[in-house]
């Protein structure tokens, strides 16, 4: 078991979230999405952020990507403060967000261009084909996103994110819109690719199984706050059929369910009081 365990205890912090708060403000009201959240993520670590919708997990990811700015606190990447989005943090969105006017290959090449690395046009083409082959889409290089299925689109989005050659990969419920059969395939693909490319990954999900399958650590969120953090401690690579039924898996699953239920009870309580 020990051979494939990731030992990250000596790794430096890649991402540091320090006492971050964030409010959504519209014309009439102010809604506090995150309150004094702190979290450190090690280099090469795969962290899942798990929670129900509206708990602020996607907000936290958009702060990491730089699309939103924290009201207070700071987020550090390699010790430097994040102020805006950049190609050093690749993002995969749930709604694919591919450029419809570019082919699958064109989308990946766009990512390669934005990586800021100096490649010739020829090298870019070769690289783009490599990345597409990586996600199992070598045959669809010249198809436009409109001609691809949801699962294929998300593969292209993953390839485009890899093409940025960033150390950090941020995924916001990437497989939420993909049907369950394909989801498993994509989970294994992402798990494999992130290990191969030594990525530091933050993966937002509301799927307990997905979180156990993929991550080194699971951060469970409740509205605005981190409720608890669990170390997964299972060897990589993992396969769902090997995991299900094992004591370690059942134990983790139970703990996660318990923390979810506790959260639901809180909600019921508060509603009863109101």
């Amino acid at each position: 078991m020990g051979e494939n365990m990731r030992d990250l205890s000596d790794s430096p912090n890649k991402l540091e979230i320090r006492d971050v708060s964030f409010d959504y403000i519209d014309k009439k009201s102010r809604f506090s999405a995150l309150e004094h959240v702190s979290l450190a993520i090690k280099e090469g670590e795969f962290v899942c952020i798990l929670g129900l919708s509206g708990c602020g997990k996607s907000t936290l990811l958009s702060l990491l990507s730089g699309l939103h700015k924290a009201k207070s606190g700071e987020i550090l990447l390699d010790g430097k403060r994040i102020t805006e989005p950049g190609p050093d943090r690749a993002v995969v969105f749930q709604q694919y967000s591919l450029f419809p006017w570019l082919t699958a290959k064109g989308n990946v090449e766009f990512g390669i261009r934005q990586s800021g690395r100096k490649y010739t046009g020829k090298q870019r083409k070769v690289k783009a084909e490599e990345y597409l082959a990586n996600v199992g889409l070598a045959g669809a290089a010249n198809k436009y996103p409109g001609q691809l299925s949801g699962g294929m689109k998300q593969r292209v989005a993953v390839a485009r994110a890899l093409a940025l050659e960033s150390d950090v990969l941020l995924l916001d419920e990437p497989f939420g819109a993909v049907d369950p059969k394909l989801r498993l395939e994509l989970q294994e693909l992402v798990s494999r690719l992130c290990t191969e490319h030594k990525k530091t990954v933050v993966f937002v999900t509301h799927d307990i199984d997905e979180a156990i399958l993929l991550s080194d650590r699971i951060v469970v969120m409740e509205p605005g706050k981190i409720r608890t953090i669990l170390n997964v401690g299972l060897p990589h690579p993992r396969r769902r059929e090997d995991l299900i039924g094992t004591a370690a898996y059942e134990n983790l699953h139970r703990k996660l369910i318990a923390s979810f239920y506790a959260h639901v009870e809180d909600n019921i309580d508060s509603e009863v009081i109101l």
Binding site: P87, Y96, S97, L98, W101, Q147
Partner: protein, 311 residues
């Protein structure tokens, strides 16, 4: 031969259209004049026109395999047959206002150079006015669509100006600018610029937010966003609006030419109105119709060539 050219089940329609084509030829060649007319014209140009229509019909029915294509051909040929019979039997009394179809198409044999020069003149003016308007309107529209402050200035102004028919400017433009050509270009520019600007602003506003966010997370800056993301995103809409505004532009151009140009197809029509030569006026109208149709088809072809990603 027809087996290869036609989809099954279309022989009857094709047969009827072909029969009507032949009937038209027979009518023009063999049907005698029952009344006395002021002038008689040779059938050659008319037969050439009928044949050209048949050629276009045969090619398009082969390409698009639609029954309605045959129906359109039938309607056109029936119209010509009716016209021919009405003229020759004397049902049409006013020779001057309503010429024979032979007479109408004979204009193209009488004055090919004049018509050619006028068409070329019109197209040149159209090209410059249109090019300027589309390029400037799109550039400014992208900018205004992306930067709220620019948009909030331009949108109300353009809303007010688009309500004024561009032709109303033309009398003033002719005075203001040194040549009629410049005036005509200016009128076309006004006809196309404001709708293009407004359309582009609207399209930028409708852009999928997640695409912008994806581009931002990849570190795309403001210029790159406009050139590499927003422009290609809006391109299908821009091209689609071109065919609409081209039609508007051509209308304005013909109008402007009629108001005081010395060249162009609008001028051609206006000139022969002065001579009360309605045969030439009708020929000019036919030319305008043909040009707008050809432009329309060309724009559609370009659209399909450029926009491969939208089916």
């Amino acid at each position: 031969m027809k087996k290869f050219l036609l989809a099954p089940g279309m022989y009857i329609e094709f047969g009827i259209a072909t029969l009507l084509f032949v009937i038209n030829i027979v009518l023009t060649l063999a049907l005698p004049y029952f009344t006395v007319h002021k002038a008689y014209y040779d059938s050659a140009a008319y037969i050439a026109a009928l044949s050209l229509i048949f050629l276009i019909y045969a090619v398009s029915v082969h390409m698009n395999k639609k029954k309605s294509t045959s129906d359109i051909a039938v309607v056109i040929y029936a119209f010509f047959a009716f016209w021919e019979v009405a003229y020759k039997t004397g049902a049409v009394r006013n020779d001057l206002l309503i010429p024979s179809p032979e007479g109408l198409f004979h204009v193209f044999v009488d004055k090919p150079q004049e018509i050619g020069a006028d068409v070329l003149g019109s197209l040149q003016l159209l090209f410059w006015g249109f090019l300027l308007a589309v390029v400037l309107g799109t550039l400014l529209g992208l900018l205004a669509g992306w930067i709220p402050r620019v948009r909030e200035v331009l949108l109300p102004i353009s809303n007010a100006i688009t309500l004024i028919p561009p032709l109303m400017f033309s009398a003033y433009m002719i005075m203001l600018l040194s040549t009629f050509r410049q005036a005509a270009v200016a009128v076309i520019f006004f006809a196309v610029f404001w709708p293009t600007l407004q359309g582009t602003i609207a399209r930028v506003g409708q852009i999928d937010k997640s695409i912008i966010e994806a581009a931002r997370t990849m570190g795309v800056g403001t210029l790159g966003m406009l050139a590499k993301v927003i422009f290609p995103y809006c391109l299908p809409g821009i091209i689609r609006s071109i065919s609409k505004s081209l039609r508007g532009a051509f209308m304005c151009l013909s109008g402007a030419e009629m108001l005081g140009m010395n060249l162009g197809i609008g001028y051609f029509i206006e000139k022969y109105k002065g001579f009360a030569d309605y045969r030439c006026i009708l020929a000019g109208i036919v030319v305008v119709g043909v040009i707008t149709t050809v432009i329309d088809i060309a724009v559609n072809k370009v659209e399909r060539m450029v926009i491969k990603w939208e089916v």
